[in-house]
């Protein structure tokens, strides 16, 4: 009873779903969105490399972005994440625009936000010169609720949420790997046979 009430109150907390300072433009109150603990993915944006030496090849810019607690299933979101993995950002946006899934709209927003971040903060010159290096989904916080059935029976349903993580890297997308042929497999087998040695001997 008390746990349920506490759970309900935590759900109904307004600072969870209002963006910071949207209703009070004149006040400078820090709402909870800025004070929430930074997750591991958000912290990846904060690493600073030492300046590169003149001879080194240019390190491509990496942008980490994520969205937390999306009201969608992580398994269903995974299919979209798998679709856009390895594509250039324009191609990914085109595919997501014409996908019928609910998560496609969310991922499109996340990609556009990440593109904007890249151009403004991460010194990326051309916003089209980005490709998606990694795109992952994770399980968000689930809530359990009662689902009422006939004859007084009930089931416990889970309200499912997910996180979506994306890593954009500057540069054209890498060429796709050529599929493994029988010749490659045979070569690897012969190499394994050649790598065998005698153990516990002189």
């Amino acid at each position: 009873g008390s746990a349920l009430a506490r759970g309900l109150l935590s759900w109904a907390r307004p600072e969870r779903w209002l963006p910071s300072c949207s209703l009070f433009p004149l006040s400078c109150i820090h709402t909870s969105t800025s004070l929430q603990k930074l997750g591991k993915w958000e912290k990846k944006n904060l690493i600073v490399y030492p300046p590169q030496l003149p001879g080194e090849p240019r390190r491509p810019a990496e942008i980490y972005h994520c969205r937390r607690d999306i009201k969608y299933s992580k398994d269903k979101m995974w299919y979209l994440a798998k679709l856009i993995k390895g594509m250039s950002i324009d191609q990914a946006l085109a595919q997501l625009e014409f996908s019928d899934k609910k998560g496609a709209k969310v991922i499109k927003e996340v990609l556009l936000e990440a593109q904007e971040l890249a151009v403004r903060k991460h010194n990326v010159e051309f916003k089209s010169n980005l490709h998606i290096a990694e795109s992952l989904t994770g399980r968000g916080r689930y809530v359990k609720r009662i689902r009422y059935h006939a004859k007084g029976m009930f089931g416990i349903m889970k309200i499912v949420r997910c996180h979506y993580f994306v890593k954009l890297v500057e540069g054209p997308p890498p060429p796709p790997e050529p599929p493994r042929t029988g010749f490659d497999q045979a070569k690897e087998y012969v190499q394994e046979l050649r790598n065998r040695t005698l153990v516990h001997t002189l």
């Binding site: 979209l80 798998k82 595919q95 014409f98 996908s99």
Partner: protein
């Protein structure tokens, strides 16, 4: 005493026995014939099924660029942006029509012509109803 009481009890028991044998099997018996998983499916087996190429989303190869506005569109579908802008203009024209008619069932029996700022009705638009719109003619709305 037993011989007297027995006939009163026996027919009822016989009747119940007969009913029980001819009764259709209830739910608790037919469960034995239902399809039921024998073993828990391991996560490896589940992954093979969920990640099979037939279940992955296919990439769409029918996306082009709209020559009018430059947004993306599917080849066999109207451009969403251009359709939305035409829809908005049509809504305003319909609001003007509603203002002119002033109520339901007042549609005239003649054709309608939409004229924008600075346009005069030509001799072709003699008997037609004229709807005025207070803006410049949009480039996509070609005048006859």
């Amino acid at each position: 005493a037993l011989a007297v009481q027995a006939p009163a009890v026996l027919p009822q028991a016989a009747a119940e026995g007969r009913e029980g044998s001819t009764e259709a099997p209830g739910l608790w018996e037919s469960i034995l014939w239902m399809a039921v998983p024998k073993k828990r499916r391991s996560i490896e087996v589940n992954r093979c099924r969920r990640r099979h190429p037939s279940k992955l989303i296919q990439e769409k190869r029918n996306i082009d660029v709209c020559p009018e506005c430059g947004n993306l569109k599917q080849k066999h579908v109207l451009c969403g942006y251009c359709y939305a802008k035409v829809k908005a203009e049509t809504r305003l024209i319909r609001m003007e029509i509603r203002k002119k008619e002033g109520g339901p069932f007042n549609a005239p029996t003649v054709e309608t012509v939409v004229l924008y700022e600075g346009e005069k009705p030509t001799e072709k638009d003699e008997g037609k109803r004229i709807i005025e719109r207070a803006r410049k003619r949009p480039s996509w709305f070609v005048q006859n």
